[in-house]
Subunit: 350 residues, 3 copies
Amino acid sequence: MKSIEKSVAELSALVGGQVVGDGDRKVRRVASLNTASEGDIAYVEDEKLFPAATASQASCLITPERASVDVPCRIEVKNPKLGFALIAEVLHPPKARPAITHPSAIIAETAKLAADVFIGAFVCVGENSIVGSHTQIRAGAKIGDGVKVGNDCVIHPNVFLEDGVSVGNRVILHAGVVIGADGFGYVRGDMGYHKFPQIGTVVIEDDVELGANTTIDRGALGRTRIGKGTKLDNMVHVGHNCDIGERVVIAAQTGISGSVTIEDDCVIGGQVGFGDHIRVQSGAVIGSKAGVLPGKIVRPGVWWGIPIQPLDEYKRLNAHLGRVPQMREELRLLQERVRLLEDQLLAGDE
Amino acid sequence: MKSIEKSVAELSALVGGQVVGDGDRKVRRVASLNTASEGDIAYVEDEKLFPAATASQASCLITPERASVDVPCRIEVKNPKLGFALIAEVLHPPKARPAITHPSAIIAETAKLAADVFIGAFVCVGENSIVGSHTQIRAGAKIGDGVKVGNDCVIHPNVFLEDGVSVGNRVILHAGVVIGADGFGYVRGDMGYHKFPQIGTVVIEDDVELGANTTIDRGALGRTRIGKGTKLDNMVHVGHNCDIGERVVIAAQTGISGSVTIEDDCVIGGQVGFGDHIRVQSGAVIGSKAGVLPGKIVRPGVWWGIPIQPLDEYKRLNAHLGRVPQMREELRLLQERVRLLEDQLLAGDE
Amino acid sequence: MKSIEKSVAELSALVGGQVVGDGDRKVRRVASLNTASEGDIAYVEDEKLFPAATASQASCLITPERASVDVPCRIEVKNPKLGFALIAEVLHPPKARPAITHPSAIIAETAKLAADVFIGAFVCVGENSIVGSHTQIRAGAKIGDGVKVGNDCVIHPNVFLEDGVSVGNRVILHAGVVIGADGFGYVRGDMGYHKFPQIGTVVIEDDVELGANTTIDRGALGRTRIGKGTKLDNMVHVGHNCDIGERVVIAAQTGISGSVTIEDDCVIGGQVGFGDHIRVQSGAVIGSKAGVLPGKIVRPGVWWGIPIQPLDEYKRLNAHLGRVPQMREELRLLQERVRLLEDQLLAGDE
């Protein structure tokens, strides 16, 4: 793990913080409170952890403003976890790789590679494809024909980009990602299934990160899009013609059928399933393992369950359902009391 | 995207249609109603879209018979979407690749490759494996020993076929597919788990398509089979000794435990989970996210839920469950009324 | 499939069994009862299968002690399935591969490979990485820098091990496995998401087996661990900083969020979802498709459902819920009876 030494004062300036204590201290690594030692910087947010923070061996802590954490050196910021992430970006930049093309790589003559790209062993880059400045294409990645990859990307080993797909700048594609495979569309004929044409494309915008073994299918006739700044975890499936907006977060193993739109700034849990032609409106949050029926419009708010309901309703209904055993008993007692009443009335009539 | 020019009359003949208007028009591409322009052919099925169809810029439309869509050129067929798929097969054939073996590929001396195969860069083909006529094995795919791949297949990049598996004709395996890895079977001993033998094989029949990163495990002692014309979406898991019939469709991320039989013409949604030793009878439809308990026999019909129930029962029960809050209120009111009656009777007795 | 010939007496000794019949018979293969023929050994446990066992064409059967299975040759053991697995280990050892490095492989000069390793075509091994004795690294696998792989491992094709990860002895990694990709952690800032540092590592202990396309993310700051003897099926996702204990079994497509601890000897079904910071205590069993809420402590026992409940409670509640339609009807009848009583009392008052 490469690391870089910075003074606390420099780092504090970087995150708009306030040094409390010795700003000349040097730090080289981020670490957690418990494991930090000399040269490390850690962060604390939760007051309950302030005693642990005070006991930390870190050279510097990032803390909330006016936090009662008595250590020789700390940086006060509004959002310590964000400050920690920003400082980690400086101390632990992505691994640099030299501007070389491995001699084993097969680069089409018509491909255009920026001068400072890194191309690993056993990489293929197809006809008329373009790779931007400072991008790394690691060992075994396969880039089809007519693909565009922007600047400062990291394409990890064994990724596959099918013909014609487009990838923006600062995109990270983890190992085993497949972009632009055919979508899943068939029409049933007398003899079986015929492929509905899958001749569209995929557009991955800037600052997207896709987890290992995630798959993004090409559009059937149009395009599939992953918007700027959106982050997908491992093994997420995005079907043909989906339109995923900007700054969307989708956790692992979620599956999205064709023609689903997820607007900007949504947060989607893991193992969620989406039927086709759903629209998730900006700002909606969908809990893990939820199921969304085809065609549904999901309004902003927090959603849960199979099929999804507003979280409050889900909780209320579940609380009611948990009382059903007791209701059965109450119902049985009431039946008994009514029978007694009926007997009494009958006896009174006699 | 390669395309081929055809006259409307030629295409109509191909799909057994009836030209209404100018059959000499030329089309080169399929497109959607909204985005179609000169040279494109689109289709419309739903009457609600007939106004949009009338306004479409497509050179030709495929419509239902006697459809009131007033355009200069259209083809009437019984099933417009099927006609569209068939025409797309002609206008947009799979990408042709030349009959060459990339010099970087490692082909065992005992392997038998048809003369016109395409073998991409960094491909391996093992001892005694056979690759049929006109098949494409793209960059980075790895074919083990004793593997048989039929004619006219497309094996996309980074696919892995383990020793001994058999693949039919016209099979499409998308990137990252793994066929023939060991099934998941262990026996617990005193010291931990011992592998149950996983020495069977996998048979993929003709016209199968498997989505990106899908995995088909080898049989433990027998074989795992994917029947003719069956289509699996991305990241489907098929366990050891499964027998998947013909013309079965399985959507993304469904997982099938060992020794499951799915008979012909079933339709399985996404993210469905199957326990082991299930039999799904021909024609059954199982909704997305369903769960099927081990050993179950699933009869024809539409099934839903965890564990699965007939869709009608599932809906009816869920409607009842949604009334539980109201039932609790009704029960409370009834308890009050009974208490009143009891009080009255008690008073009357005095 | 390689096989080795052994006498029944030798195999019986190996599993601590008792030969009943002709111990000199030779067997070369394991097989199932139905398909076994001359030279095969099969096993039977369930008394219902004893007639089928008696009719089996196997040269030898493995049976429970004092089983009434009348065949010319059998081995009695306490646990026939375990005996079968142990015998299969002898008759069908993992495929041997020669101690060669394929000339196409790219091995860093600082890497240290044991003399008897097998390195397939198009493999990369990075700087300062170590590969132990008798380990096989198959075609297309990519090993980063500073990686340690132990002895007697099989790394199947297209596996990727990121920089710094550590793999024990006798580990099997099936095709498409990705170990050490960045975990999924971000901090939201004004402009979008910033990566929480993902600079930890992964430790895979001895005797682990990971199914095809499974992904194990590196720790954010610490490490992710898969304990000794643990077995994961295909497409399992293990998030950053998880600690999976020894002899844990996890079926396909289960997803585990960050910082989850699963203690020794747990059994987890397929498609289970874990929120973050869960602790599953040693010996717990979680049924397929279950969902576990973040932060939960799962005690020993059998758990089921979304969210998980003890299996008994789950079954009891579900039985109650299945009676809700009948409860609604009973409630309606009771309301009618109470109305009648009210009418009678009212009439009596007049």
